[in-house]
């Protein structure tokens, strides 16, 4: 039996309407986030418990009169810490160290980034330098100090050299690993879109590698910070830096100050680490590397 389709079918929507409808069905929206206070609390309480346990063990050791002339009670150290934070000398020391850290770290990123990119993209360099970078990464940076001091004297230049030698290999390895993981399809698309040579690196390779590169940058920061602290202890350029201040406290037997300084240095390490993690999360979310419903 013949059926007249044209008269029985409903009027077909236009292409615009149909696509808009489909897009609306696909757009499930973003899951609502928990309130900030709630999220902060959820990440904070395990840390607070851990801190409490450490303080308890410490206090018990003090009560037990273990090394009584050296080990100060948590309350004494806390008082010392409070005094320290209230002094302008302390903030000056922070500033001196921060300057050194920032300049050194930027140079680390520059050297590590250029070397890493070159090694990853130029086969001859990879064969020649690749193994050397890994070798340098396994070498404790303290071992470079005699050489650095001989070359640059007891100066901040020596410390910066240490930071670069100690940390740039980690950054370079981050770049190499990241660039190696760039999907070949992206390179193909980039070339099709007209990216060649440096513009391919700038617009395709480096952005594609960035999530892994960021891991190398984070590791590089840890090594740079180690080298900086070791340098401030050993090279002793500026008694007003955080490391220099700690060395002073050691020579004068101010053990509470020593412990307070250690706490501050650990605290700085944690703050920077949290900052890196936040950036890392942000990048992963933007790249679509995090399951949206789980974030």
């Amino acid at each position: 039996m013949a059926v007249d389709h044209t008269s029985t079918l409903p009027v077909a929507p236009t292409l615009d309407e149909a696509l808009a409808g489909l897009d609306a069905l696909d757009d499930v929206g973003r899951p609502a986030h928990d309130r900030l206070s709630r999220r902060l609390w959820r990440s904070a309480w395990p840390k607070l418990v851990a801190l409490g346990v450490i303080l308890l063990v410490w206090q018990v050791a003090v009560w037990a009169h273990w090394k009584p002339y050296i080990l100060q009670s948590p309350t004494t150290v806390a008082r010392q810490l409070w005094e320290l934070v209230g002094s302008s000398l302390f903030w000056q020391a922070c500033w001196v160290t921060a300057q050194q850290a920032i300049i050194g770290y930027l140079l680390v990123l520059l050297v590590g980034g250029v070397v890493g990119t070159a090694v990853a993209r130029v086969p001859v360099l990879r064969a020649g330098v690749g193994a050397l970078i890994t070798g340098m990464q396994t070498m404790p940076s303290v071992l470079w100090y005699p050489l650095a001091i001989m070359l640059f004297g007891l100066s901040s230049t020596a410390i910066i050299m240490m930071m670069i030698l100690g940390a740039a290999p980690a950054v370079a390895n981050g770049f190499i690993g990241g660039i190696d993981q760039v999907p070949p399809g992206f390179l193909r698309v980039g070339r099709m879109l007209g990216a060649r040579g440096l513009s391919l690196e700038r617009h395709v390779v480096l952005p594609a590698a960035f999530p892994t590169v960021l891991g190398g940058m984070k590791q590089g920061w840890a090594f740079a910070w180690h080298a900086l602290m070791a340098g401030e202890f050993l090279v002793l350029v500026n008694p007003l830096s955080l490391g220099g201040r700690t060395v002073n406290a050691v020579t004068q037997g101010e053990w509470a100050v020593v412990v307070a300084m250690m706490i501050i240095i650990v605290f700085i390490g944690i703050v920077v680490d949290v900052a890196f993690s936040q950036v890392d999360r942000g990048v992963r979310r933007r790249y679509g590397l995090i399951d949206q419903s789980a974030s």
Binding site: L15, D23, R286, Y287
Partner: protein, 270 residues
Amino acid sequence: MSILTANPPPTAVVRSAPSVTLAGVSKRHGDAESGVVALQDVSLDVGPGEFVCLVGASGCGKTTLLNLIAGLDRPSVGTVTVPVPDGTARGTTTAMLFQDSALFPWLTVAANVELPLRLRGVPKAERRAVATDLLERVHLGGFGAKRPHELSGGMRQRAALARALAQDADLLLMDEPFGALDAITRDLLHDELEALWMERRFTVLFVTHNVREAARLGDRIVLLTSRPGRVAATFPVDLTRPRRIDSPEIAHLAATVTDQLRSEVGRHGR
């Protein structure tokens, strides 16, 4: 002919005739003894503004073929001729669309569409205007600020189409672009692509293993054999546009092509 929407030139831009010619093209991967012959003696002419669909089973060397035409690879034997910019034309003349849209995840959708313009130094304001227009054209007007992963597969493919159009290319190579989409979305994207093509008349080489899709879209269907890839047959599609994939004419043509495709595939089992 320019396919860029924004600021169309007052007089038509004269370009070299956009046509693809493959003459006796063979491609062998690897060395002479153990290598695999992907393509053997393929000759093909694609006229300016023509929509040609290449159909073949696995191993017909269709990706190799597109890579050769795109200039990403070179033939072992034979010549590949593609449109060359005539000096006044800016940028690339060949655009490619892949099965996974391959939008860059570090860029917003709009920035992805802008990228080819940025790469050839188009000023910011102009490329923004072009991207906005093109996204409107593929019905993604409100999605420019989103990230690719926030879009559905069909929307990503439309964004990739907008990006390919931003290249202002004479030749669009499509490598199974709708293969991963659901049937409803795919049908709508056929309509979308056909409308765009009728509007702008760029040359299309469309690879698929969906025979109906080929009959729905192409002016001509070229059937490729597998291992090695050779041209087995050519079917003209003399059907008026716009077409519908569920029309009896397309079903009939698809049946004819499918029969021959199966006899080609069957040869490998014997």
